[in-house]
Amino acid sequence: EADIYQTPRYLVIGTGKKITLECSQTMGHDKMYWYQQDPGMELHLIHYSYGVNSTEKGDLSSESTVSRIRTEHFPLTLESARPSHTSQYLCAAGWAPETQYFGPGTRLLVL
């Protein structure tokens, strides 16, 4: 099992601001993922990484970007937040896609 940490847990921010959602894990998993989930809707994969310096876009097109400079850290950045970015963002990590452990999530509200 992995310890997955996400900060902040909640964020309310104005349109146009740059934000970074942090995700870190302590178990050295190579694979990490970012999902976006609107209330009552399914999770959509927006980014994933299979290791340091490896990042790929997921199924759902997203204006966010990610980086993977260290194994334990997989931050997601929005250069200019908009109300359409309001959602819950879930980070996950695991040895394989089938065994993902999720972080507590970040609820983002863009005004």
Partner: protein, 110 residues
């Protein structure tokens, strides 16, 4: 187009009832099917299924996969109020992508 469909979308039962949640899928290069329980925040892993006909069991929860008919069921017996949650089905494909269904919201009343 790949898709994962869960039914019902929501379900209300009383404690002690048995429930069956359904997940059907159409995915290219199927690799595995997973069930998660999502309460307030992040999903927690329940089962991973890769072979047809082999039941996975954990306490009052059990699940089975039918790769011929492309579906899985999640059974919960003797439900308790703590079982109230959204149950998510996800399917992994050969591209190492996972596609999630919309979930079934289960409410267990005392």
């Amino acid at each position: 187009e790949d898709k994962v469909v869960q039914s019902p979308l929501s379900l209300v039962v009383h404690e002690g009832d048995t429930v069956t949640l359904n997940c059907s899928y159409e995915v290219t290069n199927f690799r595995s099917l997973l069930w998660y329980k999502q309460e307030k925040k992040a999903p927690t892993f329940l089962f991973m299924l890769t072979s047809s006909g082999i039941e996975k069991k954990s306490g009052r929860l059990s699940s089975i996969l039918d790769k011929k008919e492309l579906f899985s069921i999640l059974n919960i017996t003797a439900t308790q109020t703590g079982d109230s949650a959204v149950y998510l089905c996800a399917v992994g494909d050969g591209n190492n992508d996972m596609r999630f269904g919309a979930g079934t919201r289960l409410t267990v009343k005392p």
